[in-house]
């Protein structure tokens, strides 16, 4: 059941790329970004209101943590541009590859205050497999 839930998360990510990409192709990138964020904001606000969650947002939280949404805007734009040019599956395949490489870099150097985990060179084999998979996907 929970495994189905995890798979569903992945399915939703793919549909999100499709929905947002379609929007951007028709409205232009910037107007699409506004629509996406308004819909999301209305959605999460209603959810919080229904669930009656107490507000936990306050001034003691470091300011840079509020900037995650700004990074989100850049990545959604990139995805939208790629969607029209290379389709959903390749956008996702290259995106996942970027995510994996970045996670190895973050772990190796212990960036963002996370625990440092040195790179194990045996993982090159796995990375090559993943990269060859992404490459094969570009063939057709």
């Amino acid at each position: 059941m929970y495994k189905f839930g995890a798979t569903l998360v992945g399915v939703f990510v793919a549909f999100m790329v499709l929905f947002n990409g379609t929007l951007a192709a028709n409205y232009g990138n910037y107007a699409a970004l506004i629509i996406i964020h308004v819909v999301g904001l209305v959605g999460i606000s209603s959810y919080l209101l229904i669930k009656r969650e107490n507000n936990k947002i306050n001034r003691s939280i470091p300011f840079y943590l509020f900037l995650g949404g700004a990074i989100g805007v850049i990545l959604v734009s990139f995805n939208n541009i790629c969607f029209s040019a290379i389709g959903v599956s390749l956008t996702i395949a290259f995106g996942l590859f970027g995510q994996i490489v970045m996670s190895l870099i973050v772990d190796h150097f212990g960036l963002f205050g996370l625990k440092q985990t040195p790179f194990n060179f045996k993982k090159i084999f796995g990375l090559l497999l993943i990269f060859s998979g992404v490459y094969v996907m570009t063939l057709g």
Binding site: Y2, K3, G5, A6, T7, V9, G10, V11, F12, V13, A14, M16, F19, N20, A31, L33, I34, V38, V39, G40, L41, I44, I61, L65, L67, G68, G69, I71, G72, L75, V76, N79, C82, G87, S89, L90, T91, A93, F94, L96, F97, G98, Q99, I100, M102, L114, T117, N120, K123, F125, G126, L127, L129, I130, G133, V134, V136, M137, L139, G140
Partner: protein, 149 residues
């Protein structure tokens, strides 16, 4: 070129995931999602005013095209339920496989073309991910043993 964009989007996804999980440790994932969309909206409006010269007009599109933001919320809510319940290896693998296969399916529906290459690619990616997970697990085991010895 587009491959590079998609790759960077993935790298940025990870950074935003780290930032969000740090924010979530203060306010919980749902309120961090609220903060996220608010910050995103402010930046989007700013960008729109700076770069978009045309005035905004409504385009007739099927209603589902507007649901991208909602998908983002579903993803957060379901992840919250699922991630603590099953080992990270499975969550990550299943989320990746779910994404890739749905992506292949959507492309098939859009372009009416089923490609064997894409399926082979998904298999290779999954194999690579799994291989690296096994190595991670062995490393963790070694560390744990080193500590207890």
């Amino acid at each position: 070129m587009y491959y590079l964009f998609a790759f960077s989007a993935g790298a940025l996804t990870l950074i935003s995931m780290i930032t969000n999980s740090k924010l979530a440790s203060y306010v919980g994932t749902r309120q961090s999602t609220l903060v996220n969309f608010t910050a995103g909206l402010i930046v989007s409006i700013f960008l729109y005013l700076m770069f978009q010269e045309t005035t905004f007009k409504l385009v007739s599109l099927p209603i589902w095209a507007y649901f991208g933001g909602l998908m983002g919320i579903f993803i957060v809510i379901i992840s919250n339920i699922v991630i603590p319940k099953i080992p990270t290896v499975y969550t990550t693998l299943l989320i990746f496989i779910g994404q890739l296969l749905t992506g292949v399916l959507i492309d098939f529906i859009q372009y009416r073309e089923l490609s064997l290459y894409k399926f082979i690619g998904v298999l290779l990616i999954t194999a690579g991910l799994y291989f690296n997970f096994i190595i991670d697990k062995k490393d963790q085991l070694k560390k744990a043993q080193g500590k207890s010895a």
